[in-house]
Symmetry: C2
Subunit: 230 residues, 2 copies
């Protein structure tokens, strides 16, 4: 039975932009697993109620509903054991968890650049929900939150120094080939690329070159997505 993935979409059903869904899209491809993605909007809580919560990604495998990207990655690893490993062993799995934490902090670091672009591109029925929940989270109007983003860009790029140092030394976080750690950190980059024309990564930056290598993986799965630097 084909796996199904509830995948965050914007006003256009093909604008898939969740950083957490993208890591699972690449994880599924890494495992050679076919998936049917179902466009889902922030307010479609009823559609994923069977998962016991209200956020995507939600993976449906037969009668199992699995939520939370780290839980899904572990489920895929433990269920599809004959497929290529997402982690690369037991120690590597433990070491990968921190990459998820790093990716979460990357989402937080990128959000002040693209929050308003997201607002403009979500489905009409999501707009109030998105503004209300996000403004409550950041404590100000989204317009004020993203103000002067050009002036903040250098500091953001500087904050990627550790990632840059690693990716100068090896092509992927996982080594010569990508692993789930790569997909976890790639998610926020693809999120920004798919929802905002704002250029976060400078041309020639080793972080961007790594992102581009991941865009090309799996027959260009991530590169073919509806995005702004296509």
């Amino acid at each position: 039975m084909t796996l199904r993935l509830y995948d965050l979409a914007g006003a256009e059903p093909d604008r898939r932009f969740s950083p957490y869904c993208w890591r699972i899209r690449l994880a599924l491809a890494h495992k050679n697993l076919a998936v049917e993605t179902i466009p889902w909007r922030f307010t479609d809580k009823a559609a994923i109620a069977a998962s016991g919560q209200g956020l995507v990604p939600v993976l449906v495998d037969g009668d199992k509903w699995i939520a939370d990207s780290w839980t899904i990655a572990n489920y895929l690893e433990d269920t599809y054991r004959d497929a290529p490993s997402l982690f690369g062993g037991a120690a590597a799995r433990s070491l990968t968890r921190h990459y998820s934490s790093l990716a979460d902090s990357l989402v937080a670091a990128i959000f002040p650049f693209i929050a308003l672009d997201i607002l403009h591109r979500v489905a009409d029925r999501d707009r109030d929900y998105f503004r209300t929940t996000r403004e409550q989270r950041v404590g100000k109007p989204l317009e004020a939150f993203v103000a002067d983003r050009e002036s903040r860009l250098a500091a953001f790029r500087a904050s990627l120094a550790p990632l840059r140092a690693t990716l100068k030394a090896q092509p992927f976080l996982g080594g010569d080939e990508p692993l789930y750690a790569d997909y976890a950190v790639f998610g926020p980059m693809q999120w920004a690329r798919c929802i905002s024309p704002f250029v976060l990564l400078e041309e020639g930056d080793p972080v961007r070159l790594w992102r581009d290598r991941l865009l090309d993986r799996f027959g260009g799965l991530a590169r073919k997505a509806l995005a702004y630097d296509a």
Copy 2:
């Protein structure tokens, strides 16, 4: 033949405070390798000239001189294969490199809190060297560099959020037991603890609890060091 490690010391020969030497001290203990540590000062370049460069850690194993902590860790892993693995496999080794990069950024984040404490505790013959090289690096007098450190503490602690999230979920970065990734990131924490009375980590912080677990490992190797919160 016993391994020898050139280990950065302050005015007191027992004040060992290099973040990069500490990770190797724990790596050697992890591998059950006895080591003779040799107190070394910043200006003792001649003593380690055989390593082809002028920084510690420098490990001497028979007629081999090995510099750079990442190179040393890989040397130990590849040379002492029957001892417990520092990385936990090939993929885990690749995934560990980024922890070294993260530790470097942690050194940079901690330095503005403890730079002056280091100056006061290095050997007399190192004082000019330390001030000159570090002031050139940071672009201002060390006194100005560390000014208002209390007011910067909250931001520093907030910057540890990804580490904190991971260490709430599992006892060590390497999982249930520590790996080189843990030692790499622990190094900067032990550096601060050994050279400065300034309290960086709040009591009860999961990052501090993790640091304390590492202090207790290997018979309290790191806890027994000459330090300020002993």
